[in-house]
């Protein structure tokens, strides 16, 4: 199996894919809930919470995708060329969706006229719904073995317009919405608003059920459309599949617990007759919900990775055969190690800083 360098780069790349799915995916999901938040007045507090949660972090979360693309073309140039030439239509639409989403989100924040805010809000929300579908469909095309090695050797339409891609695209949309609902339930809990917490908690349950349905449908279409991958998912990747299922079921339970009212943040609980510790319990459930939700999606992604390995493109190109020369892989790993040492502490600071409520350091 060669030097093992390509496996190391693949592991880094798949970690970045996971980070993008868990962080960037949740930002897409937040846009989906912005779309479904209801009328202007009723939806206002929900949209405010979404904007507050997504605003500081979405650009950093978005960089994971660029990092994935760059790793793919540096370490596996043949894979990148095959994927991007055959799948140029969904990839172009993904890029356009990202332009619409990111710029509309920034514009909405910068402007005060109601009509313009609503227009940019609609563009943000709609592209948040559509873009992950194309991302999932492109992933499904690769998973189903419809992207052969070489330049544009696959069909530019049926490679990603087929039952497998339809299901993986829907799975991606549902998973984004599910992640966002899981994360926002805790944000809503922190804001101390019971109604808001219950709203997002209920949506975590509903979208979690949709994710489960998509997963079951996905296994069914893979059985017919990608037998090799199906065999691996129910074979060596089964522990990861079961982990994902367990994470999903736990999330459904925790979302129900987290959505219970706790009578307001830090309210005097005993004299209102509520059981002591209830608030702490719902808050703990909301924290755990974040972990189980993210864990379920991460396990599903790694199940796909484990099932597809050692193929970069099923069934024609292995990770080893598609890898760049060793010097490029070594340079990439060095860059990832040094870059990671710089970026990860900074990223942790960013994510923690905006989990705290606004401080009083500056008047």
């Amino acid at each position: 199996m060669g030097t093992g360098l390509e496996v190391a780069v693949l592991a880094v790349m798949w970690t970045a894919v996971t980070a993008y799915a868990l962080l960037g995916g949740a930002d897409f999901g937040a846009g989906i809930w912005d779309l479904l938040a209801g009328g202007r007045d009723r939806g206002a507090p929900r949209r405010a919470l979404i904007e507050h949660s997504v605003g500081p972090v979405w650009e950093a979360n978005h960089v994971w995708l660029i990092f994935v693309l760059v790793l793919l073309w540096t370490a596996f140039p043949a894979g990148f060329a095959a994927i991007s030439s055959t799948l140029y239509i969904p990839l172009t639409l993904i890029a356009l969706g990202m332009i619409a989403r990111g710029s509309a989100f920034a514009f909405r924040k910068a402007i005060d006229q109601p009509w313009a805010r609503r227009l940019f809000g609609a563009a943000f929300a709609f592209s948040s719904l559509v873009t992950p579908w194309f991302l999932g469909a492109a992933g499904g095309a690769v998973a189903a073995g419809r992207v052969p090695p070489g330049l544009a050797r696959g069909d530019v339409l049926t490679s990603w317009l087929n039952p497998v891609s339809a299901v993986t695209g829907s799975f991606a949309v549902a998973a984004c919405a599910f992640l966002a609902a899981c994360y926002l339930t805790l944000d809503a809990r922190r804001s101390g608003d019971d109604g808001l917490t219950a709203w997002f908690g209920r949506r975590a349950v509903a979208s979690g059920l949709v994710v489960g349905a998509c997963s079951a449908a996905g296994l069914a279409v893979l059985h017919g459309g990608a037998p090799l991958l199906y065999g691996r998912l129910t074979g060596r990747a089964l522990p990861l599949v079961l982990t994902a299922v367990a994470g999903g079921l736990a999330s459904l339970l925790l979302a129900r617990l987290a959505a219970r009212p706790d009578g307001g943040r830090r309210a005097a609980r005993p004299d209102r007759g509520r059981p002591a510790g209830r608030a702490g319990g719902t808050r703990l459930a909301a924290v755990a919900l974040r972990l189980t939700g993210a864990g379920a999606v991460a396990a599903a992604l790694w199940a796909w990775g484990a099932a597809q390995y050692p193929y970069l493109l099923l069934p024609g190109l292995t990770v080893h055969a598609g890898a760049a020369p060793a010097a490029a892989l070594t340079a990439t790993l060095t860059c990832a190690a040094v870059g990671g040492a710089l970026v990860i502490p900074a990223l942790a600071w960013l994510l923690v800083l905006f989990q705290r409520s606004p401080g009083s350091a500056r008047d």
């Binding site: 990092f67 540096t74 140029y88 172009t92 356009l96």
Partner: protein
């Protein structure tokens, strides 16, 4: 938009797509790439240059307590936040286009030029993280910590520009790989990054990013001052960026000379196209303006021996002309020559503008009183952007028909998928909408509404300094 883009190909099917778009069309692919790159580069320049301006203004505001500096810092930070978001997403499509349009390039050479992009990815991470902290942490961090949180944005912005442009420099001076049977089998990524063109090209680009930022921001305040708003806030808003850009301009002209000499040695046909030099000759003149047709330049202003002197410091030195390569290997000369003259001409005009400011400041410690000065500053932003775009046209069109100089032709690099040309239409439509929206939002933001205390948080109290 997305729906209609989809409905077309779905209804017509693959064969119709092939007939309509034609397979492997390098002209359309080049146009789409040039369009999206040319759009992104304007925002990217402001993304590289603005953090330095914002930090300087915030630092002065903290030191002096001057409300004008504080207001400038806050308003510029808001604009920077919007531009950074637009730059982040308009840069993302370029990553996709590297494969979607140029899969023939990436298939073989992706491993060679991947490393600078990977490093740029980390630099962009640092930028995005600290920009989030800087913009949203305005009321969460102590003043000094907040100022320091902005420093990584400046450094990472310059680093991003360096590494991305080094990848373009590699296309001009490819190094760091070995080929066997037409496939890349060995890579030295560091030699690829630090290829001979990287020095002049990255320096020229980073300085032009600062010039574009300085003149563009100053031009906004020049327009306001022409409308009679001459208070301290507007004067500082004009002076700081203008001084910054004017100080860089003479350095940029020296660096531009370095870049031209490098091209003269490394890509003589590109320089011959830029100068409109048809034949290899001694005593080569500099020819300004004119129209290149029928294989020679008509009606140009000629400086005898100028080019020989400029490149070799010797009036008799031989300079390589277009006739050194067959016609099929020459770029489109009229475009390259016009773009080159535009860039150089604007560069010297901006130098003169800076000299005017320096003269007035030396004599009277004030900006020139003439309205013509403000008018000149008002157009300097557009002029600087035009010069920067013209410079990229010289670099990119001047390299044709090669995508990697003397290694890979554009026609061999383009994605052969059917219907690729049709894909350019939705891209252009989205960019048209993005342009309108960006200009509209920036114009709204330039109005005198109160600015929130933390630039990105609408829910904190309004901070009206003036």
């Amino acid at each position: 938009m997305i729906v209609s883009a989809l409905a077309g190909p779905l209804a017509s099917g693959t064969t119709a797509l092939t007939a309509a778009g034609g397979a492997a069309d390098p002209v359309v692919a080049r146009s789409q790439m040039g369009f999206s790159l040319g759009w992104h580069i304007v925002v990217a320049c402001l993304g590289v240059g603005m953090p330095a301006l914002v930090l300087f203004a915030e630092w002065r505001g903290q030191r002096t307590g001057d409300p004008s500096w504080q207001l400038l810092a806050r308003r510029w930070a808001r604009v920077m936040g919007v531009l950074f978001a637009v730059g982040a997403v308009s840069g993302t499509i370029l990553s996709f286009e590297m494969g979607v349009l140029w899969s023939g390039l990436m298939d073989n050479y992706g491993a060679v030029i991947g490393l600078p992009f990977a490093i740029e990815g980390f630099a962009f991470f640092i930028e995005a993280i600290f920009l989030g902290i800087y913009l949203y942490g305005w009321d969460r961090l102590p003043p000094r910590a907040h100022l320091l949180a902005g420093v990584p944005i400046v450094i990472a912005g310059i680093a991003s520009a360096f590494f991305v442009v080094s990848a373009n420099a590699w296309m001009n001076a490819p190094r760091g790989y070995t080929v066997r049977h037409g496939r890349v089998v060995g890579v030295d990524p560091w030699a690829a990054i630090f290829n001979p063109a990287t020095g002049p090209e990255t320096t020229h680009m980073i300085l032009s990013a600062f010039m574009v930022t300085g003149f563009a921001v100053a031009s906004v305040y020049a327009v306001a001052m022409l409308r009679g708003r001459r208070d301290r806030y507007h004067r500082l808003g004009l002076l700081l960026p203008l001084t910054f850009a004017a100080a860089i301009t003479p350095v940029q002209i020296v660096v531009g000379d370095w870049a031209a000499r490098f091209i003269g040695a490394d890509q003589p046909v590109k320089l011959a196209a830029a100068e409109g030099l048809a034949r290899t000759t001694g005593h080569a003149p500099i020819e300004i303006g004119g129209i290149f047709a029928g294989g020679r330049l008509h009606g140009a202003l000629t400086i005898p021996d100028g080019l020989s002197l400029l490149l070799r410091l010797n009036p008799a030195a031989r300079v390589t002309g277009l006739n050194s390569v067959p016609p099929a290997d020459r770029p489109v000369v009229p475009i390259v020559h016009l773009a080159f003259d535009t860039m150089v001409g604007i560069g010297f005009a901006l130098l003169a503008l800076g000299a005017w400011l320096a003269w007035s400041w030396w004599r009277r410690r004030d900006v020139p009183r003439s309205r013509w000065f403000l008018r000149a500053v008002a157009v300097s932003g557009v002029a600087a952007v035009t010069a920067m775009e013209a410079g990229w046209i010289v670099t990119e069109v001047g390299r044709q028909p090669w995508i990697v100089y003397h290694v890979l032709r554009v026609a061999d690099a383009v994605n052969p998928a059917p219907g690729l040309a049709a894909g350019a239409l939705p891209v252009i439509a989205v960019y048209a909408a993005l342009t309108v929206a960006t200009v509209y939002v920036l114009r709204r933001m330039a109005r005198g509404a109160p600015v929130p205390a933390a630039p990105q948080e609408a829910d904190v109290r309004q901070h009206s300094v003036i």
